[in-house]
Amino acid sequence: MSDREPPTIDTGLSAIGVEAAERYYLASQWTLMRRRFTRHRLAIIGLAVLGLLYFVALFAEFFATQDIYRRDSDHLYAPPQRIRFMGEDGISLRPFVYPWRVELDLETFRNRYAPDTSRKAYLRFFARGDEYELWGLFPSRIHLVGVDEGTTLFLFGADKFGRDNYSRSLYAARTSLSIGLVGVAIAFLLGCALGGVSGFFGGAADMAIQRLIEFMQSIPQIPLWMALSAAVPRQWGPLQVYLSITIILSLVGWTGLARVVRGKLLQLREEDFVMAARIAGSTAPSIIVRHLLPSFLSFLIVSLTLSIPGMILGETALSFLGLGLRPPTVSWGVLLKEAQNVRTIELHPWMMIPGLMVIVTVLCYNFVGDGLRDAADPYKSN
């Protein structure tokens, strides 16, 4: 734990094995954890992908290609446009897309789309497009990619109003990804407080809190979530709904955390250093915060990481059913609501892309959580 200079030990031995072992014994806990985490290749990949996702979500306005509410009545349910370097007339160094040629199918009365190979819409980087305000503060019209006026760029296709699925998915990422973080923050506070009280004081408080946790864990989450979120008043604004859904999700999430905190505290409070602190006259809160918390912080981080995916999946499921977030707010669940029946998937499979993003996100969180779990106890040999 300490960052003190390691004492120099002169054993007279210079064998590499001894040196390596020495480095191991002299390394701090955090160094060992980092070393072990970086050995977990999937966790590193997961962390990188998550980093990218969060970065894109943070600057969604810039990475989006157009305004997410702009409707294009000529391109209802337009399929995704492929970015090409090869055209009919050979290789182009500038990437481009073919605009859609739209025809009405007289049998089904649906639009039929075919690439219009006579025209090319070149992708422009840092192009001027729809106006936006980054985080509601900085007005701009620069987007990462765009195409000229009069042509279209639907990277993930368009929805039933001809809105761009790609831009909407990016904005949705911001909502869905942040719900996990905010929810976990609330769960963290609740879990630490209740788990701390339970583990440190024991006795009647412990008994009551344990029963509460048992109760929370034994009722099926989703029906409860559904019932609670259905009770969120219809007239509430987007922010209020967002907050209430997050709180509902974290109402269940804190229990696992409280269990970890309690278990570790029970184990640690018997340790000599706690006794020493107590004899030295430290108060209970200061022992918890200054001595105990650092000792199990790594375990806390693991269970925090592993509880984020549950919240993201929960939000997605609730919004998918129409009980969670509601339009005009966009989240992955809200977008997936458009793909609620099997016909949609058959005819417009690109409406499922937000679902893929959910899977990738949850997968990455699980990988990172797995890596962290291995790293959390670096003294355990495997």
């Binding site: 864990q217 989703i222 259905a230 499921a317 059913l321 129409g322 998937i345 499922m352 699980n366």
Partner: protein, 333 residues
């Protein structure tokens, strides 16, 4: 052991009481009381009734008494099997739920059985063939299964069945049997639909359980007694199933307690997507129509089912693990 069972039953009763409080709270959640909803349903605005008439109705339904009294009346009615009346269906909630309960229980139980039949052998294989192709496949399947929302899986399977067989699998019965009384033909028809539904629901749970089984068996396999037994020449198969697998099964069995609520949860959403005749879609309809009486009853019924499931799994563990039977506190913690 008796003390353990008694304590367990006592805890279960406490949990059930808490569940009933939550159920009552759900009914009270929407703004306004039963009467407002009731009048809205009848298309009567408050203006058409005088203040006195309103008071009379309130007194008739016991709405003028304090909250805790209403709660006790509600619990009392429930214990006598009266779950109240659904606003949206205009029939007793008990009938509505009862109609769908047998199939809900059937689907849940079958799902658990299928989950185990899939997860335990795959987990054992994964652990004994660590880092083999099969292990990697199971691991990938496990992770992706955990990461995929249930409803997406249901949608995907519906889509696959639509593109392969030309019809989507929804519900448990073909349309011609929907309103028919039970018959051999209807039963056979259900047997055709059931596997897909169960498979979808079971996938999520299976993915998680494989990882638990693999992890706990790997831990066991490293222990000294396994090495000792092996060095004494015990045959690999009998060694495996006689000792480590039995111990590794413990977290799985006690895990049913943890998995059970998740399974019931997962079933609700899958059932809504697949339109199964279980209580899931009923709950969804109730919530969208603000029929809180019905919704609360369903949440209660599902919770009670889950709590009973957890209790049964604890009793199973008691039977399976002698350490608990002989009262070692460590094993119960």
């Amino acid at each position: 052991m008796t003390a353990y069972v008694v304590r367990r039953v006592f805890y279960m009763l406490i949990t059930l009481t808490l569940v009933s409080v939550v159920g009552f709270a759900i009914i009270q959640l929407p703004p306004g009381d039963f009467l407002d909803t009731h009048l809205r349903q009848l298309g009567i605005t408050g203006a058409q009734l005088s203040e006195e008439e309103l008071q009379d109705i309130r007194a008739y339904y016991g709405l003028d008494s304090p909250g805790y009294m209403q709660y006790f009346v509600w619990v009392g009615n429930m214990l006598r099997g009266d779950l109240g009346e659904s606003y949206s269906y205009r029939i007793p909630v008990g009938e509505l739920v009862g109609e769908r309960l047998p199939l809900t229980v059937l689907v849940s139980l079958l799902t658990i059985v299928v989950t185990f039949l899939l997860a335990v052998p795959i987990g054992i294989y994964s652990a004994t063939h660590q880092y083999s192709l099969g292990d990697y496949t199971a691991t990938v399947f496990g992770f992706v299964g955990l990461a995929t929302p249930n409803f997406m899986l249901a949608l995907l399977l519906m889509w696959i069945s639509l593109s392969w067989f030309g019809f989507p699998i929804t519900g448990l019965f073909s349309s011609e049997y929907l309103d028919q009384p039970w018959s051999v033909a209807k039963f056979l028809d259900m047997m055709l639909h059931l596997p897909v539904a169960i498979l979808v629901v079971a996938t999520g749970g299976t993915a998680g359980l494989i990882r638990v089984m693999r992890g706990s068996l790997l831990d066991e396999l490293q222990k000294q007694y396994v090495i000792t037994a092996r060095s004494k020449g015990l045959e690999e198969a009998s060694l495996l199933f006689k000792y480590p697998v039995r111990i590794a099964l413990n977290p799985i069995i006690s895990g049913i307690g943890g998995v059970f609520p998740e399974l019931v949860s997962g079933t609700v959403i899958t059932a809504i997507v697949l339109n199964l005749p279980t209580v899931g879609p009923l709950l969804f309809n109730a919530l969208t129509q603000e029929d809180m009486q019905l919704a609360a009853s369903i949440v209660m019924v599902l919770s009670v089912l889950t709590i009973l499931g957890v209790f049964v799994s604890d009793m199973l563990l008691l039977w399976l693990d002698p350490r608990i039977r002989f009262g070692s506190e460590k094993a119960t913690a």
